[in-house]
Symmetry: C2
Subunit: 261 residues, 2 copies
């Protein structure tokens, strides 16, 4: 399938507050869509606690099997911020105070505010490359194919925007969505036959329940615009043959995501 | 630490639409909070694609190391709904058509609507226990310590409410949150000392940025109400010593979540 040519990414979300349900992660949708537009497929996400062994296991597993791995969270100055030390341990590297990171903190904080706790935010695994933090100075960092970013969404997004343009892009993957008030049970058989007819177009089926009505969104993805248009036309024909009209999806054509099938 | 006595849970979210960023998962916060009130700690979440091997790996890893594992998604009637077959493979069980599940579908659908695709929603691993679906009949199921639930949030929540009361509950864990307009860098040193003074109270520090102001929420968790109150009083004293007042958090005392430290 076409997807096998896309670079593949993973994401490790570090934070007890996400696991406990106290805070809802908002970073995955941003990262996945940003990568998708660069032709890079997000294929696995792990949410782990603020525990050294949990972080090491997730990062080491994903960095060995994927092209790029991102992490979010745990790079602040408090006792529960253990991401930098855990990443250093994952790579078997010492944790060093980075002189350039210290300079950035010195430029950001008045001298009497740059205390010992804040200076720990300049500690990174030896040899790591720094990632700019345009919001609050304390940098993220990169070790090999692992990008360690802040968890606060405004900072996370700024760092993603900084990193993604430098990654090797995959072939752009186009996507089309056709929603209708049909139900999955009605479309299942003819849709399965269309998936067999278009093995190079990934077709996903996502039921929804809005305004007291059931419906289904059919999402088609392919790097080949002609095949995507042909499959989309065939799915639209199927929807009409079942007695419904595709609903308007204003942003469907602007979307560009890689398949993960 | 007290957390070691809490039963531990994992969650496998199955779905390309979550990975691609097209849809934001809304099920984790509900499940984690519902488990938290039952004294069960959510300790690891994996989001995987609609691929058999990815589902098998995640489920087999988590079910071996945790007390309870939940999955969401992929139990509909379309070609990309492969969760039941993947769970059967994970347990090395055959996939059988369950007569009781067929009866439930027969009660829900008019005879001319119960087609072959919909009947596949009655296929479960041999010996699985069914989980009621009060919304659209097609059941979830349980195999050993793995609970396989629908991805559509309304159905997912109904199934969670059905399952959780039957799980062995842990000691109830209480939580208190103290937010203020201090920053993490200012609280880091005294907060670290308080964490050492109260090793049996898990203290988390979560920065926020609201209405153009930085701040930090300090979340304390413990099964011991007296120790929790003592630690909360000490943290409040620390906040006032640093020149701020704790902000009102109306729902803090109603919250009850297990620590995952």
């Amino acid at each position: 399938m076409a997807a096998s040519h896309s670079p593949r990414a993973g994401f490790v979300i570090i934070g007890n507050e996400i696991l406990s349900g106290r805070t809802q992660d908002a970073n995955l949708p941003y990262l996945a869509q940003r990568l998708g537009r660069a032709g890079i497929a997000m294929v696995e996400v792990r949410i782990v606690s603020d525990e050294r062994d949990a972080i090491i296991e997730a990062v080491n597993t994903l960095r060995a099997r994927l092209d790029h791995v991102f992490t979010s969270g745990g790079i602040g100055p408090t006792h529960d911020d253990i991401t930098a030390a855990s990443i250093a341990a994952a790579f078997d590297l010492p944790l060093d105070r980075d002189p350039e990171a210290v300079r950035r903190l010195e430029r950001h904080y008045p001298p009497d505010k740059l205390n010992a706790a804040r200076l720990t935010m300049a500690d990174v695994p030896r040899g790591a490359g720094l990632i700019d933090n345009p919001v609050s100075a304390a940098p993220g960092f990169r070790v090999e194919n692992v990008y360690v970013l802040a968890g606060v969404p405004a900072i996370f997004r700024a760092m993603v925007d900084m990193v993604v343009p430098h990654l090797a892009a995959g072939p752009p993957i186009l996507s089309r969505t056709l929603s209708s008030h049909l139900t999955e049970g009605l479309v299942a058989a003819p849709l399965g036959r269309l998936q067999e007819e278009f093995p190079d177009v990934a077709i996903g089926s996502y039921p929804f329940y809005r305004n007291d009505r059931l419906g289904v969104s059919l999402v088609l993805r392919s790097p080949d615009p002609d095949r995507l248009e042909a499959a989309t036309a065939a799915v639209a024909l199927m929807i009409r043959a079942l007695g419904e009209e595709p609903l308007a999806e204003p942003d469907a054509t602007a979307e560009a995501q890689p398949p993960v099938h």
